[in-house]
């Protein structure tokens, strides 16, 4: 009995020792998925739906570079103040905005979509191809109030979409 119990126990222990790192790696990639991360808290809680749905503003009204440039861009404070010198003044968030504006400080918005340095995503070619912003960013008009990442946007996700639409999957399209 004892003679074959020992190799059995050793085998089991080895199996568990091997399985642990494998599970850890799998769990890590699962829980580290960008959509699992809590959205960063912004210096000003900017409600997207109120601007896009209630105020009927186009995405491009604030993110002006999206059709011409790689970066969609964040609006200048002057653009916010265009409306907010008279609209909603007195609320706490708008007071913060006015403080930034009067002190001449930029708002340090927290980056929501983190891309590694070796990935070059270009907004303009995707938007000009005809994609709706919601394709990647979710429905910011009616559903998502505070910006968060709703799409995986890791390489597998990008490649799947590129294959589906016949876009190039050459490494150097994104990595250089």
């Amino acid at each position: 009995m004892r003679r074959f119990m020992r190799p059995l126990i050793v085998g089991l222990v080895l199996l568990i020792l091997l399985a642990l790192p494998v599970t850890a790696v799998l769990a890590r990639s699962y829980f580290l998925s960008p959509t699992w991360q809590p959205a960063a808290e912004q210096p000003i809680a900017f409600p997207h739906t109120r601007h896009a749905q209630v105020a009927q503003l186009d995405c491009e009204y604030c993110h002006r570079g999206v059709a011409e440039d790689g970066y969609a861009g964040m609006p200048a404070l002057e653009l916010c103040m265009d409306c907010h010198q008279s609209i909603q003044t007195g609320s706490a968030e708008i007071d913060t905005l006015i403080d930034y504006f009067e002190n001449g400080d930029p708002v340090n918005w927290e980056r929501v979509h983190q891309m590694p340095d070796h990935v070059h995503f270009v907004h303009s070619s995707h938007v000009n191809y005809g994609f709706d912003c919601a394709e990647c960013h979710g429905d910011m008009e009616t559903e998502i109030d505070y910006a968060e990442q709703v799409r995986d946007l890791r390489m597998g996700d990008c490649i799947d979409c590129h294959k589906e639409y016949g876009a190039p999957t050459d490494c150097s399209v994104c990595h250089y």
Binding site: P116, H120, V122, S124, S125, S172, H175
Partner: protein, 239 residues
């Protein structure tokens, strides 16, 4: 999209001023090479200017030759990479994919021109230079190979702009950093497959063109134009 990017370097115009080297370092976020690093032969220079002395004193002549990556059609570096981190794009560029590279350095060993460089250290810049990094080029980390990309970031950008405007990429619309900085216009960059392009015409019209180490049969995309030397003995009616 079917361009075959290439370069013509006229050695008769090159003065060895190293402007191309500096421009390349600035454009491509190449870490600063110190004297110490040079002595260790670990300097990173995507393009370098080699100097040769010719003749006996007092009739000595300095000869300069800028050497970027040759972007060979049959590249010896590509076939030895175990992880396919280097490959030929359909536009004839020999690309290095940093996030795929595991740093075996086989490619550098197999490159006869010594134009592949390994990051032995994490790149560092003085505080004053940190904000001048080019945002369109990745900063390579320790342990990966890097090399001349023919300024692929400029190619991609121009192509994307052309796509947005709904037109083809024009010849001379953009150029590489080295060609842009060259004060004597010795380096010309463009589409070798386009007979109307400037490089296409230069390559077709010249009778002093040669490729560096062409005997290896790797078909480089960089064509050199021989220096015109009035004192040289005539051979076969050429220069």
């Amino acid at each position: 999209m079917s361009a075959r990017w290439g370069m013509v370097i006229d050695l008769d115009r090159c003065t060895g001023c190293q402007a191309c080297v500096v421009a390349c370092q600035a454009e491509n976020n190449i870490p600063i090479n110190t004297e110490d690093i040079f002595h260790q032969r670990r300097a990173i220079e995507w393009i370098r200017v080699e100097r040769y002395w010719e003749g006996e004193y007092p009739n000595v002549k300095a000869r300069y030759i800028p050497i970027p990556c040759m972007h060979c059609a049959q590249a010896p570096c590509e076939s030895v990479c175990p992880v396919y981190a280097t490959y030929q794009t359909n536009q004839g560029i020999n690309m290095q994919i940093y996030n795929r590279c595991i740093g075996t350095r086989y490619c550098a060993v197999n490159c006869p021109w010594h134009v592949r460089f390994f990051n032995y250290w994490e790149p560092k810049w003085p505080e004053s230079l940190k904000h001048q990094l080019n945002p369109h080029v990745s900063v390579r980390s320790r342990g990966v190979m890097e090399k001349c990309t023919f300024c692929v970031q400029r190619i991609v950008r121009t192509e994307q702009q052309a796509q947005v405007d709904g037109r083809e990429v024009q010849d001379g619309e953009f150029t590489t950093a080295c060609a842009q900085a060259c004060p004597t216009d010795a380096i010309v960059f463009g589409d070798l497959d386009d007979p109307e392009s400037r490089v296409g015409q230069m390559a077709a019209d010249t009778d002093r063109g040669y490729q560096l180490l062409s005997g290896l049969g790797t078909d480089p995309a960089v064509l050199y134009l021989k220096k015109i030397d009035p004192d040289a003995p005539e051979e076969n009616g050429h220069y």
